[in-house]
Every structure is written in C-alpha cells, then in structure tokens.
Symmetry: C2
Subunit: 404 residues, 2 copies
C-alpha cells in the first residue's frame, strides 16, 4: 500500500485566507441586507490599464493567425520580457543583473512556494514573525519545520524573528544561524520596511554565515522613501547570497493575470553547484513557461504609456492607504505601515485579540480585514487592512470604523 | 553553510528537448541555407480557433472595466469551467466525476511534475518504458529513484515496464508491486494505446495491490477507436485508485496558453487521508489559480462552435499523421501509432540507434524528430515523429524522407 507525504498532515487547519472567506460567506448569508467592505485579502480592484489591455488584445490576435501563433514559450520566459525587466528593474537602479538571470513565471506565490525545493530538507529556515504563510507552509510540506505547537503557534524547527512595535518591525539577527532566510520588504503583512543600510547588514550577515536570503520584493512599486531599496541587489554582495522574487500583481494589478519572476544570480553558488542551473532545471522539468499573451502584457507594464498609467494606479491605492492611516489615527488606533506599502497594520484595542477584532469589525462595521495572528504568533494583537479597495469603499469603511 | 537538494545532482545531462533544441540550433547556424522541418517536439502549429479567440478578447475587455475586472481566481478554478468540464468530459461519458473533483491548473506538465509531492518519498514508482521524461525526473528531484546507471540508462529504484513491438506496446504487470503507476494513454511517445478492457485490468490491479495510478490523458481528443477509453474513470473502481491529468494543449492548441486540469476523486483515500484534500491544500499554498482569461478560453473549447472548430483542427493533425504513417510505410519503415494519437513511432533502420537516426535525418533530410532513447532504454532503436506540423511541411518532410 502506498504512503502519503505525512508532512501535509502536520499543517494545522486551513490556509488563512480560506478561513476568512468562509467566515465572510457565513456572515453575508446570515445578513444578506448588509453591505460588506473587504479590506482583507491583498487583491486589487482597479482594472488593467489601457496599455496592458491593448498589448493583450494584440497578442490574442497574433494567436489567431498561423504566421504569428506562439506555442510553447521558452521555459525561462521570452527574451523581449526578460530584457526589459533586466533594464528597467535592475540596470537602471545600478544592479548588475542580466536578462538570463531572470526566470519568468506565473507569479510570486508559486515561486515562493517552489523555491525551497532547491535546498536540502535538513536546511533550517528563519522567517520574520508575522510572515506571509506560504514561506512556512511550503517548508512544512517539505518536512523542514518539525512539529507545530498549538499553544505557542510555532514550529519546533523554525527560527522566528519577531517584528513588533517594540523593535520597530525590524528583524534582529537570530541567535542560531539559519540556512534560508525569508525576508519581504516592504513587508506583508506589517506594511513597514527597512532602510537600504539595514538590508545591507542582512546581506553581509548572509554572506558571512553562508545563508541564502529569499527576498520577496512584491511590493517595491509602493516605495516612496529614498532610503528604501527597491531590490536587494542594490546591496553589495547580494548576488552571492540572495534570490529575489518579484510580482506583477500589485504594481500592475495582475492578480488574475498571473505573472511574476524570480532572479537567481549566476554568482549564487553552493560550493561548485550553481543555484541558477538548478532553478533552470526545475523550470524545464516542472513548468512550461508563462503564456505568451501574459508576457506581452508584462512587457507593456514597462512601456512609457504603461509606466505612466500604473504610476497613477499605484498613487490611487496609496491615497487609500493615507485615508486608512489618517482615519484610524483619528479614531484613536495605533497604526503602522502605509508609507512604502499598501498595507496598514494596526494594534487591536486592548482586551481584544486579532480574531476577536476580526469578528468585531465584521459584525459591527461590516468591514473585513485580516487578523494579525494569522501571520504568526507575533502578529497577535495586530490587524491588517489593505489599500486595494476602491476609494469610495475605503472612505466608507473608515467612516464606519470611526463611528464604532 | 546551507546545503542544496542533492537529488538534482543525480539528474544526467539536460532535459531531452533542450538537447534537441541545441543540436538543431547548431545545425541551422552552420547551414543557414537549409530549410529545417520540425516534427520533433509535440508543439502545435495551428492558430487558436475563432471561438477561443473571441472568448479571450471578451475576457480581456472585462479586465479593462472595474465592474467586470477579476482579481485572484478561486484556487481550484472558476465554477463556470469546472462545471462544463465535469459535464462534457465526464458525465457525458458516464463517469461520475463532479465539478469539485476537478482542479484547474496552468497545464499537465506542472501537474504531472507536482503530483508526486502528495506521496511519501519512500514510494516506489513504476513507469512504462519509453516514457514522458517529466514523470521520472520529478521523482528523481524528490529522491525516489535511487541512482542512475549510465550504461543501462535506468534508475536503481524505478520499476520499468517495457513497451516494445514485442508486446504490442502494452505494459505488463510488474513483478514487484509499485506504489505509484504512471500510465499515459494514448501514449506519448509511442502513439499507441490500450483497450478499455485492458485499462480496466490495470484499475483492478491497482485497487487490489493498493497502488495509485497517475493517468495522463493529454491526448484523448485523438482517439478514433470505440474500444479506447477517453478517461480512466470509464473503468469501474478507478475513483478509488486513480488521478487523471488532462491538458488543453493538444485538443485545443493551448501549448502557449497554458491550461489543464487534474481530477482527484473524493473517493481516493489513503486510509483516512483524502488525497483530494491534500491536492486542494497544495493548490491553496503553492499556486494562485489559472488566469481568468485562459479559463474563459477553456470554457469556449466546450461551446458548440468551439467543439466544431476543434474537431476540424484535430482532424487536420490526424491527416498529417496518416501522411507520415503512409509515407514511412511506403519508404519501407516499420511504423506504429498515429491511429489514436498524433505521434508516429518508427523503428530505426538496422545499424542505426535513435540518436544516429536523429543526426542522419537532420543532416540528410533536414527533418527534426525525437530519438526514442531519450524517453527511456526501451525507446532505443525507435524514433518519434509528430503530426503537429503544417500539412505542407509534413508532406514535404515525407517527400524528403522517401528520397533518402
């Protein structure tokens, strides 16, 4: 009789956002007259910009004609897209990343879940706490995390780096040396970030200790402050210790389009083994390339028209962030994030934990947010609101919250 | 210092089709005046049909308007697509598969590479030989295959089930009981298949032995004979032992669109553990849904117009298959497949192995095929040609081959 991968059985309950979706569905079913405003999941609401729509229509038409039809894409992505990414996202920022170090994919979630496959199951991971659940869960499935303690909500074999108001949401170097370090800046869920100088310290640490940083930069388009790095490769020596994961979901509204990329520098070696070669092999074996139409859409993100249109789109979301931040502050909440990120992280009122505040907000204000404890034990007592709603809904939600 | 997943180092050389691409690139660079005809990789050449193009344009337009914009898709696929799949591909064929047993994805390659994650690394796999390389390579990466023997071209811990002209390309039950059995019918690469009655024997075998069949039905649209099953669920008891992987690549030309699905029946249990629940958890954690636009394109495949247009497209490819089959037979070759599949499997001439015949065909006829040995040791002495070229190219290729 065959046996299953037992590690799956270690995962407690269901994925955070599935739980929220079920709770909201139950509430709306019981209260069909209430209009619920969702500022929970990090899904965008603005339509794709005209430059992207135009590129998609054009690519669809190409697929209708045998002379321009495209079948299997190159495993690692079309050159037209990799070239523009290397130029716009890296070389223009002074990062020496070449186009053949870029691996186009169907999104940052897949990549951040799959990247751990390149490493030994003996590797020990370190995560900031709170953290995007995929980093930990994908390592649990691979058997790296030990056992889950229901009381502490921690895994026995994971190094947690708390990020709370006490340390300004900046992780400290752990006592025990990790093999893999997951960092996400600007951070999901806290909406806070670190300076370029601080990030350089992490790069130096990883190079010194022989660790790999898996750097999730999905929210870089929301950075407004000069001292914040858009890419980890702005730091010296990052090419020998860091993999960077990027997304089109938040800078271009591609959550339903599915496009992202991962940078694995050729200089990233484990002894004589190239991680670049390993990731190429994984792409070639278990993936079949991102769709041509979506890659043309990605290319349009970097066109002059696309850049201008998306700058405006991001600005709209950041206007929402300001509405939330100011509204909550006026209502007496302690608020973080929202300056370099589309997320606002608030301290829940005393005597209410994260899930209690979730229920309270859903029932009393009919507003959906995300309980901080869903992102890890240090998220307990915090709550995430996102700036991805419409302006009208965001304003309305804050009016409701202010009246509580 | 972190350690890598050593299993990757066990993989010999590069992925089969990368090697072919490199050889062809070298030849065309050295011989820029020769027109090379590619009947090698299983990529389609006909454009998407009008019904699909129309659905895509419509979906793109929906993405341009906030009122109809779609963000993250449901992890497991939109209901509109799962419903029509369950109806058209299963219930109409008498298979009791419901829409919530269908998991929409970005294609059969990803699914067939990822599905092994659900099982223990102690599981032993059985594959037909020759075989689509992804089944074995993805298991090598997970550490299930032991070590590779360069001489025999076999893995120490894989059960090979030879499929050659001697047994009519029908695998026999192995001596040792496997945990996971990979079957692909109609078969890639041999183009042959088995009867429904024979497939039922495999289902009975798996249920009796406690094995899981991973059934790749990517080529079912090419079936012309009544006695061949389009789905393994046409066999009694398959819902307790089989996972079926399906693709839109070959029946609808979606190789560059990327859409497929996998059926994991709820009745498929390992003791008290549901594989359906496990696969749902994997989708939720490491995947973010197929793009809305592509799912609408998939839906159009099942529309009346789409079905009619695609029936014609498949018929065109099968006309090519007949051209190849008849041409090769006339030229004195021993030929298999091409009746229920778009692949033709020929015996290489005496004193020429698969790669020698590849070089011979490339150099003398400027025709690219795929060496049978690239699919496993029992593929040695065979060669695959595909029917996915244009009619003109296929006829021209056969004229060249006949002249050799």
């Amino acid at each position: 009789m065959y046996q299953i991968n037992d590690n799956y059985q270690k995962l407690p309950g269901s994925y955070l956002f599935s739980t929220i979706a079920k709770k909201v569905a139950a509430f709306t079913q019981a209260n069909p007259d209430r209009s619920v405003i969702r500022l929970g999941i990090g899904d965008v609401t603005q339509p794709l910009v005209p430059a992207v729509i135009e590129a998609m229509h054009k690519a669809v038409d190409e697929m209708a004609d045998a002379a321009t039809f495209r079948g299997y894409a190159p495993d690692l992505g079309y050159e037209f897209l990799r070239r523009v990414i290397a130029l716009e996202d890296y070389r223009k920022r002074g990062c020496a990343i070449s186009e053949d170090e870029i691996f186009v994919s169907d999104g940052a979630k897949s990549d951040s879940g799959n990247i751990q496959e390149l490493f030994s199951t003996d590797c020990k991971i370190a995560v900031t706490d709170p953290v995007y659940p995929v980093y930990v869960d994908s390592n649990v499935m691979a058997g790296r995390c030990g056992v889950y303690n229901q009381d502490t909500q921690m895994w026995s074999n994971v190094i947690y780096m708390p990020c709370t108001r006490e340390n300004g949401f900046v992780p400290e170097f752990p006592k025990e040396t990790p093999d893999l370090i997951y960092l996400c800046f600007p951070n999901n869920p806290t909406g806070t970030t670190v300076s370029r100088a601080k990030l350089q310290e992490w790069v130096d640490y990883a190079n010194e200790k022989g660790s790999v940083i898996i750097y999730d930069a999905a929210y870089e388009a929301y950075i407004t402050q000069e001292e914040v790095a858009h890419s980890i490769y702005e730091c010296k020596g990052a090419d020998t210790c860091a993999i960077e994961i990027r997304s089109f979901s938040k800078n271009a509204g591609f959550t339903g389009v599915r496009l992202g990329f991962t940078v694995v520098p050729k200089a990233l070696m484990c002894g004589s083994v190239s991680l670049h070669t390993m990731w190429a092999r994984r792409h070639g074996t278990k993936y079949n390339g991102a769709p041509y139409i979506m890659q043309r859409a990605g290319e349009a993100v970097y066109s002059e028209a696309g850049k201008a249109q998306l700058k405006e789109q991001v600005a709209c979301y950041m206007k929402n962030a300001a509405v939330i931040k100011e509204g909550l502050t006026a209502a007496g909440y302690e608020v973080y994030g929202g300056v370099n990120a589309p997320y606002i992280w608030l301290k829940t009122p005393e005597r209410m934990n994260s899930w209690e505040f979730f229920d309270y907000l859903l029932e009393k204000a009919n507003v959906v947010g995300t309980p901080g404890s869903g992102f890890g034990p240090s998220g307990e007592g915090y709550f995430r609101l996102t700036a991805f709603g419409s302006y009208e809904n965001t304003v309305a939600a804050l009016e409701r919250i202010k009246k509580l």
